[in-house]
Amino acid sequence: MKKTTKAAMAASITGVLALTGCSTSGGGDDAGTTVGVNAFSVMEAANEPVFDDFEGTDAGAGVRFQTSYGASGDQSRAVVAGADADVVHYSLETDVTRLVGEGLVAEDWKDNDTSGIATSSVVVFVVRKGNPDGIETWDDVVEPGVEIITPNPGSSGSARWNILAAWAHITGNGGSDEEARAFITSLLTNTIALPGSGREATTAFTDGSGDVLLSYENEAILAKQSGADIDYVVPPDTLLIENPATVTVDANDTAKAFLAFMTSPEAQADYAQSGFRPVIDGVEIDDVAGANDPADPFPTPQVLFTIDDTFNGWAEAADLYFGDGEGDNPLGIITELQQTTGQVGEE
């Protein structure tokens, strides 16, 4: 049922796009030196030095990159609808899974040294300069009166990392599901805005709204690099954000070489400069501007939860927590809590 719906929708979209699409599709394989990179927005700046370094390698000599950046979910849906892509790099595994379901990415895409992950970060608290409210832990965030901004987990896939980090704070530390529900309820009660994306949430926060912004470490570092007057706190227990990358089934060898290069020490050092935690060991990291301590930019939290260990992977977590309850979809726990806290707030 769901699959036919998807197919019909995709067919109608491609049908509409077919006329304009002719000019851009095709042309991928014949050159052999053009690599189409389809990635989530933040990678636009982060990829530049990686592209430069790749061009310096044997495999990457004379390569031309055709890039496309945007919201992770939109990018993935565009590829399903026929957008040309060799290397895909998304903020959330479910966006790659969507391509696997359409036969655009091989089933075994996670079979490599990093389990398909190309960049990583952690969920952090962005606070006002000097941390006037003394926000250090998750419990400080849900104190009554603290105003929270976090991107909308409904419309932004990557925002889901933040909410799951809060959930993991309870269940990962031995709490029950009931306690986690209560915790998320107080978190949502304190939430004053759910902007559409991580960047919009940062904009709303730097513009003066809210006491704490739930965000990603790389986003916080980037904001500080661009001069935002903020600080950020890595909580003692937080969730590891893992951004998957892979190649599409008809990608050329250069694209495959680039995918491998993305997880090389050289590329990981480049990504670190943009605030991403390396996904492999033994990466030489220069001082990272914008980090709390540029010389030790990525301090290890006391407890680091992962989506696989704490939540049994995205395949299970996506529906269990964020399902919208429409049609055949189950009603996710977070969706349900959002509805109940929203209604209470209305009265």
């Binding site: 769901k2 036919t4 719906t5 998807k6 019909a8 929708m9 109608s12 979209i13 049908g15 509409v16 006329l19 979910g73 849906r77 969507r98 909308n152 409904g154 419309s155 932004s156 896939g157 939430t191 004053i192 805005a193 759910l194 902007p195 559409g196 994306s197 919009e200 904009t203 709303a204 513009d207 003066g208 709204s209 964020f322 399902g323 919208d324 309850g325 429409e326 049609g327 979809n329 959002q338 509805q339 806290t341 929203g342 209604q343 707030g345 209305e346």
Partner: protein, 292 residues
């Protein structure tokens, strides 16, 4: 964009200002009198219209219809969605009403009065059209957010939705009324005045009926634009379920969950709402125009 809009309305202007538009429309419909050139024009218009509007709309409705009626019912039975629909439609209606009043006044001032800076104001009216909506949201956030220099803390409240919608829909009524008002002959008003009609009677019996089609067209545009607005709201309203979440954000949530059918169902429901309002506006407009 502006010139196109004005151009289109100048063409409509004389037909509507004489107050006999309905009859004229009816006269052309019964039998075809198309010349070869007109046939070509109609063909081009229909092909273009089909590619851009009819086929995509049909695709949306077809996708929505896959779940049958139950798909629509399920979508609307969700409290959160229903709250978003209520907020969006009520705010769009409110903003449209405001635009009918304020937009007509602005158009009047721009056409009938002479004052310093008139030309500049005339140009600036269109800026909300040209500004990317996300930038509009950003500007409004800095003006009405926590650091508001005006002391209005409207960000993340339903007022923010009103504000953003009013901003992006401002030009519609102004730009549809303005050219009609320019074409409106002052002689008629003077004649009415010389026959003893008061200012109010002239306004009620001559000016408003002549402007009604243009005001209705502008109102329809601004309502349609308001119920579909996304960019300027996503930053400013806070998107809180049941409080400031609008339909377009709900639709995006459905899409993010891979639930294209519900997204299409909700979108087609909004299309019906738009259609109902546009038809209602047309009926009102005909009524008012006939009274003149």
């Amino acid at each position: 964009m502006t010139s196109a809009l004005i151009g289109a309305n100048v063409a409509v202007g004389p037909a509507s200002s004489d107050g006999r538009r309905p009859r004229r429309v009816r006269r052309t419909t019964p039998h075809s009198t198309l010349t070869r050139g007109a046939g070509l024009g109609l063909g081009v218009a229909m092909i273009w219209f089909s590619l851009l509007v009819l086929i995509p709309l049909t695709a949306v409705i077809a996708a929505a219809g896959q779940g049958g009626w139950s798909g629509y019912v399920d979508v609307l039975r969700n409290d959160q969605t229903w709250a978003a629909v209520r907020l969006t439609v009520s705010q769009a209606l409110l903003v449209t009403l405001v635009n009918v009043g304020v937009g007509s006044v602005i158009a009047w001032v721009l056409v009938r009065d002479n004052f310093w800076g008139k030309r500049l104001l005339d140009v600036i009216i269109d800026v909300p059209f040209a500004l990317p909506t996300i930038v509009a949201g950003l500007v409004l956030l800095s003006l009405y957010g926590p650091n508001s220099p005006l002391g209005l803390h409207w960000a993340f409240t339903p007022n923010a939705v009103t504000l953003a919608l009013a901003f992006v829909t401002l030009p519609f009524v102004v730009r549809t009324v303005q050219p009609v008002l320019e074409e409106l002959d002052a002689d008629v008003e003077e004649a009415a005045a010389s026959l003893g009609a008061s200012r109010l009677t002239i306004l009620r019996r001559i000016i408003v009926p002549s402007l009604a089609p243009a005001i209705a067209a502008g109102a329809a545009l601004s309502f349609a634009r308001a119920i579909s607005e996304y960019g300027s709201l996503v930053l400013l309203s806070g998107n809180r379920p049941f409080q400031t979440e609008v339909v377009s954000v709900r639709v995006l949530t459905f899409i993010e969950n891979g639930n294209n059918q519900s997204a299409a169902a909700l979108a087609s429901i909004m299309l019906v709402v738009a259609l109902v309002v546009i038809v209602a506006l047309d009926l009102v407009q005909r009524r008012v125009a006939r009274r003149g």
